[in-house]
Structures are given as C-alpha cells and as structure tokens.
Symmetry: C2
C-alpha cells in the first residue's frame, strides 16, 4: 500500500470519528510530521477527501472540516433515506437466505453492543465497536440490492452523515431509540414488506429531517 493511500484512509476515518473538530483547518504542512511524509502526499489525500465532501477545499486557503449544519444534516438524512430504502427494497427482492442470515448476524452484533451501552453507560471503549457495527448493519441491509454504485453512493452519504453527527454520536443519547428502530427495520425486512421497511428506515432517521 502506498503512502498516499495510507494517509487517505487514516484521515478519512478521523474525519468521521471526531478526530478533527468541525470547522478545523487541516494543514498539510503540520500533518506531514505526524505521518512522516511530505506535505504534497498529504495534500493529495486531502484532495480526494474534498471530492467526497468530507473536507472543504478553498483555493489558496487550504482545507477545512465542514461545520455542523442543520441544513446539511437534513439533506443528508433525506438522501440517505432515499438510497437506503431503495437498496433495502431491492435487497428484499433480490436477496436470498444468505442475505437474511448476514443481516440477522449484523443486527445481532449491533443490538448486543447497543444493549450493553444502554445498561452500563460505559461509553468510550465502545464507540468504535458501535460505529463499525452500526455501519455494518445498514450496509448489510442494502448489500443484496444488485448495484455496487448504489452501495457506493450510500456509503458516501453515510460517511458524511456520520461526520455531521460525530460529536452527538459520543453522547449516546440515541441508544434506546436505536435498539427499537434497528429491531423494527430488521423485522420489516425479514417479513419482506417493502413499504413497511421503507417506513421504518424513515422513522429511524426522521429526527434529523
């Protein structure tokens, strides 16, 4: 793996997991010391991230983490509902027992983590586990839709969605609602009811609209 790809993946992850603050200036000249490479290599990675919307680029003024924005969150939620509903519906239509098994497994893991969080309120060591399991659940939900493009686009939106919520994610205020919502989404998908699945996905995200 090349240096640039290493830098890209590292920064990509930190952009959506509160590794940098909203609005923070990202200086290639500083990060090069941390990564032990040239500022040009960091700059390349930042350009890719800017195209993904995870960093804002302004000529001659460098790169900056996007601010939290109520409007951006609204738009991301709306588009995420659209994509995830379509992906889930197509997965219901095209998925097989294998998809159901994977979805149940993903849900099992996620609900296990969320229930632990809900009982103990021990937060910090679980955030990474929760983060990965939440993503895995939603991605598995659409994984049999038959379109890599839809999956990729959904991922792009999901990443930006997570970035907008990266501070709030760490308060864990959402957990009890999530347990219920994720269960409802799973049940609806397992029952093969497309409209119900779409409605449950919408309910899950409606508070951000």
């Amino acid at each position: 793996m090349s240096y640039e790809t290493n830098v890209f993946e590292n920064l990509h992850h930190r952009m959506i997991t509160n590794g940098f603050e909203h609005g923070q200036k990202i200086r290639a000249e500083h990060l090069r010391k941390e990564f032990g490479c040239s500022a040009s290599t960091v700059r390349e990675a930042l350009f890719r991230l800017s195209t993904l919307g995870l960093v804002q680029f302004q000529e001659q003024r460098g790169f900056r983490v996007p601010q939290k924005s109520r409007n951006t969150l609204h738009e991301l939620s709306h588009l995420r509902i659209l994509l995830e509903s379509e992906g889930a519906i197509q997965s219901i239509r095209q998925g097989r027992v294998e998809w159901e098994a994977r979805l149940n497994a993903a849900h099992h893991q996620l609900s296990h983590i969320e229930k632990r969080l809900n009982e103990t309120q021990i937060s910090e060591p679980f955030i990474d586990l929760w983060f990965a399991a939440e993503r895995q659940f939603h991605e598995t939900l659409i994984s049999s839709c038959g379109s890599d493009l839809l999956i990729g686009t959904h991922r792009q939106i999901y990443d930006r969605f997570r970035q907008q919520l990266m501070v709030e994610d760490r308060t864990f205020n959402f957990v009890s609602d999530n347990i219920e919502h994720h269960q409802q989404i799973l049940d609806a998908a397992m029952s093969g009811d497309e409209a119900l699945t779409q409605m449950k996905i919408h309910n899950h995200l409606a508070r951000h609209l």
Copy 2:
C-alpha cells in the same frame, strides 16, 4: 484560478465528452507537456477525478478511463432515475413560477437543438451545444428540489452516465426519441403530476436499464 483546478476542469470535461477513449491509460507524465505544468499537478487532478468515478486509479499502475460496461450503465441509469425522479417531485412541490419558467426555457433551447439535429443530420458542430442543453434541462428539472446535496449527487451520476454514453452520444441515433421524451417530461412536470413525471423520466432512461 489555480493550475490544479484548471487541469481538473479540463480533464473532467474531456472524460465525459470522448476526449479520451474507454480503457485508455492516462499518463500524468505525458499530459504535463500539454498543460505546461508539473506531472504532480496533473496527478492531483486525476486523484480528484478518480474519487468521482470518472477515472480508475490503481496503485503503481496509474489512472485509466473506465471501460464501457453494460452493467455500469444499468446501475447508473437506475440510480439516475431514482435521484432525478425524487428531485423532480420535490421541485414540483417546492418550485414556483420561476422554476417553471426556467424549465420551459431550458426545454425550448434543448428541443430547438434536437429538432435541428433531427432535420439536418449535421452532427459535429452541435454536439457541444446539445451536451450543454441536455444537461441544463435535466438539472433545471430538479433545481428547485431544495437539496444541494441531491443536486450534486445527481450531477455526479449524470457525469458518469454521460461518460458511459460518450461514444453513442455522437451517433445521434437517439434524437427523435429524445424530442418526444423531453416534451413528455416537461408536460408532466408542468401539469404537476408527480407520478406521471416519474414515469416519463423512467421511460426516457429505460432503454439503458
């Protein structure tokens, strides 16, 4: 405007207007002579294009224009229908007389070009005009949807869609169908019939599914 942005925009345009052939290797080392800048600057622009899906990047093997792919076109069409329908529906709901005026203007220009193309079969001088007008019509159709994110995502998909059709676009075989389809989309949108608009968009793109 910086060099890199210049290079990016130039390459971006050529990626979707048959400036390079499907599957062609894109060498920064060669293009630097054309642009009169360093290969590193070209490489930066290519990284951005790769994130947009208009160029494929492979470590140590550089950049390549994506092949034509029946499957990719299918996925792009499906996703484009999804996004464009949603954008059109939201525009119908949220748009005002001003949106209708802009859409009628965009359609007028597009149909004028398409009719000329249909009558005279003079192709080459019109491709750029048609290209711009077709894009303008579809973008205007969704322009009052209230979501910059949806508009931006649609544009990204539309670009890739045009790349897949950039050779076929130059045969002009589609023109008479297009005249009819665009008119139907306009009429449906003007009538405020959401379901009909969605159906007409679907019909317009169904041959690529």
